[in-house]
Amino acid sequence: MSNPALSFPPHAFSGRRAVPVPRVTDAVARAAAGDRAAFETLYREHAGRVYALCLRLAGDTTRAEEYTQDVFVRAWQRLASFRGDAAFSSWLHRLAVNVVLQDRRAERRRLRRVEPTDDLGSAPAPRDRIAARLDLETAIAALPDAARQVFVLYDIEGYGHAEIGRLLGIAEGTSKAHLHRARRLLREALER
C-alpha cells in the first residue's frame, strides 16, 4: 500500500513537493564519462541529502559518514547504468537506501554469528541515560534499528509498507508493527 499521508512523491530527492523531471544533466553525463571534477560537483550538490538519509537510517554519525562515502563510490561505479529514466537525485536516493539497508542486514547476519557488541549499540538507551531534553532527531536515532528504519522510510521519506517490506525483507504487517512501535516510542521519549 502506498503512503498517502505525504503529499510529495516517494523518493523525490530534490524537494518535498518537487516532481522529478527525467533528465541527464550535463554534470551527470560528464561524470558518467569519467570526469571526476563533474562527479565532485554532483557530490557537493547532493551530499547533504544523502548524509541526512544515511544518518537517519543508521542513527549514528560515524556510520552515516561512512555510508555517504559508500553511496557516492557506488554511484560512481554505476553511473554508466544511469539512463536518466528518473531524476539523478531519485536514483541516488534509492541507491543510498539500498546501500544502508543491505549493509545493516549483512551486519545483523555477521553479528549473529560472531559478536554481541552491536546489540549494545542498537538497544534502546535506558531512560536514565537519555538526556533530559530530547529533540526529535535524537529520539529517532535512539529507536531500535528496524523501528527507526521503518519510521524514516514511511513517515519521513514517504515509502509505502509494501515497498518497505521488500527493502527490509519483512512482511508488510511487520512493517506496520515496527511503525506502530516507533511512533509509540517516540511519543513516550518526547513526552518525558
Binding site: A5, E137, F151
Partner: protein, 211 residues
C-alpha cells in the same frame, strides 16, 4: 478489547490516511467522545508533522569528498581490468582479530628478502596523502575517545569489558600495521589494513559513546 484499545490499533492507519471509510468514521466518532484518545491522536499528529518538517538535507560534519576521491583513485586499476576488493570494517572484534592475523602475515611477507614477489594491490597512496589521511583518522579517533572517556564510568562493567577488550585488539592491529608500514614504506595492502583498523576503532567508539 476495549473501545480505546481498538482505536489505538486503528490510529496509525487513520493518521496515515490509509484507513477504510467505515473504520475512519468509527475512529472519528470515538475521538469526539474520548478526550484521552483525542489527546493521543493529537500528540501523534504533531509528532508526524514535526517528522515531515525535518530538514531534508544535513551537511556532513566534515568534508567527505577527500575520502571518496581517494577511493575513486583506488578504483582506477579496477576499471582497467583489475578487480578491486574493499575491506569493510564492521566485524569489530572478530574483524580486528582477523586484521591482526593478516597484518602479521603481511609483515612476515615484507620481512622476506626483496626478491620475493610484490604483494598484489593498487598503487600505494603518496607519502603526503598517507600522512594526511592518517592524521584525519587519528584526529577523529581522539575526538571520539574524549567522548568515550566521559561516558566510560556510566557504562555497566560488562559493557566496559567488551568495549575495552575490542579496543585493545584493534589498537594492536593499528600498531602492527603502522610498524609494518614504517618498516616497508608505502604499501597498498598495509594501508588498506590500517584504514580498516582505524575505521573499526571509529565504529566501535562511535557506538560506545552512544550507549
Amino acid at each position: 478489547m476495549s473501545d480505546c484499545e481498538r482505536i489505538g490499533v486503528l490510529l496509525d492507519d487513520y493518521l496515515s490516511g490509509t484507513l477504510r471509510a467505515g473504520d475512519r468514521t468509527e475512529v472519528e466518532r470515538h475521538l469526539e467522545a474520548c478526550p484521552t484518545c483525542a489527546r493521543e491522536a493529537e500528540t501523534l499528529r504533531r509528532l508526524l508533522a514535526d517528522a515531515r518538517a525535518l530538514p531534508r538535507s544535513i551537511a556532513p560534519p566534515r568534508d567527505l569528498w577527500r575520502g571518496i576521491d581517494a577511493r575513486l583513485e583506488e578504483e582506477r586499476p579496477a576499471r582497467s581490468g583489475r578487480r578491486f576488493i574493499r575491506v569493510r570494517p564492521r566485524l569489530l572484534a572478530a574483524a580486528a582479530v582477523v586484521l591482526v592475523a593478516v597484518t602479521a602475515a603481511v609483515a612476515v611477507q615484507l620481512a622476506r628478502p626483496p626478491a620475493q614477489a610484490p604483494l598484489a594491490g593498487g598503487p600505494a597512496v603518496t607519502a603526503p596523502r598517507y600522512a594526511a589521511v592518517a592524521a584525519d583518522y587519528a584526529a577523529a579517533v581522539r575526538e571520539l575517545e574524549a567522548s568515550f572517556v566521559q561516558r566510560y564510568d556510566r557504562l555497566p562493567p560488562e559493557t566496559r569489558a567488551v568495549v575495552s577488550r575490542n579496543l585493545a585488539v584493534i589498537d594492536t592491529a593499528i600498531a602492527e600495521a603502522r610498524a609494518a608500514l614504517a618498516a616497508a614504506g608505502p604499501n597498498p595492502d598495509l594501508e588498506t589494513l590500517l584504514w580498516a583498523s582505524y575505521r573499526a576503532k571509529l565504529d566501535l567508539l562511535g557506538r560506545a559513546t552512544k550507549l
